[in-house]
Symmetry: C2
Subunit: 180 residues, 2 copies
């Protein structure tokens, strides 16, 4: 049932539901940023203003950010229909640079990649993403790389894409290491 | 000269310049969120898509957030032409609730209020904002309250609204207290 439960829901919808769950439970306050729009023409009526001409603009950062237990969280989420790899052309260079800045300045930066046809969603930390880009000079990240260096994100009905579970476990590991 | 230097620049423009400075100097990565827009009608052309009907929506959070030295920063910025007080009607209840959540979960949440005609810009931490709302039952926050519980934000040419200076000093104070 688990394999089929997710059919038809986009990763964005799953993340919206998950983030809403996190907020309602007061676990985290993470939002998708609105798409930036360049407004060219407006019409002003008595009680409302209507955008009559506008264009979608390229976002300068990632799509999601927020707060989790005092920590700054920042990520982008992408889907692919490939069964074997994730094309890096899906992420813009300025988004990668943004994530680099976030990781360098002690934020938690990562990407979430869903392999639609495999129904598997991975979290890949910024460090592993940059490491791949720097070392492999390839146009796409193989699924095997996600399996080795990424983390499979658990699915459940309330938390469709429970990425904080992964972060929580990782922070736990770090915490242990620091205190050894 | 300082009093006049700022004339004609809106608080939003000053914050854009300041945040850009912070990013270029790698001090902080704080952005204004795009205004959410509900798109009702699109026109699809060969090389571009045009929004033909859209409406501005109410933002569900504050306007600014980001990362400063591992810390999550979140604030809203408002201007007033009053010389004596800041009308609370300028901030929506869901924005106040959002800031409450941020402060409760160890983020740094605040508001920035510029008194245009006095050319003074204050930072008021969430705690002091909530405390005023809970204790005074008034429709506006008097300037005297900002003077007593807020922090005057320094102005300079590169950092038009150097609010991180205030945060840095406050974090320094906290750090000292914790280590005494």
């Amino acid at each position: 049932a688990k394999t089929f439960a997710n059919r038809g829901m986009s990763l964005e919808e799953d993340l919206n539901i998950t983030n809403l769950y996190y907020r309602n439970e007061e676990l985290a306050f993470i939002y998708k940023k609105p798409t930036p729009i360049k407004v060219v023409k407006m019409q002003y009526l008595l009680k409302k203003s209507i955008i009559k001409e506008g264009y979608f603009e390229m976002p300068s950062t990632t799509d999601y950010n927020g707060l989790y237990n005092g920590k700054y969280i920042d990520f982008d989420a992408k889907e692919t229909n490939s069964k074997t790899s994730f094309p890096l052309s899906n992420i813009h260079i300025h988004q990668i640079n943004h994530l680099k800045n976030i990781c360098k300045h002690k934020g938690i930066g990562f990407i979430i990649v869903r392999f639609n046809l495999l129904n598997m969603t991975y979290l890949l930390l910024g460090e592993q993403l940059f490491s791949f880009i720097d070392n492999y000079k390839r146009a796409s990240i193989p699924l095997a790389y996600f399996k080795e260096y990424g983390y499979l994100i658990p699915y459940n009905y309330l938390k469709r894409c429970d990425y904080l579970k992964v972060i929580k476990d990782l922070e736990g590991i770090k915490y242990e290491k620091e205190n050894k």
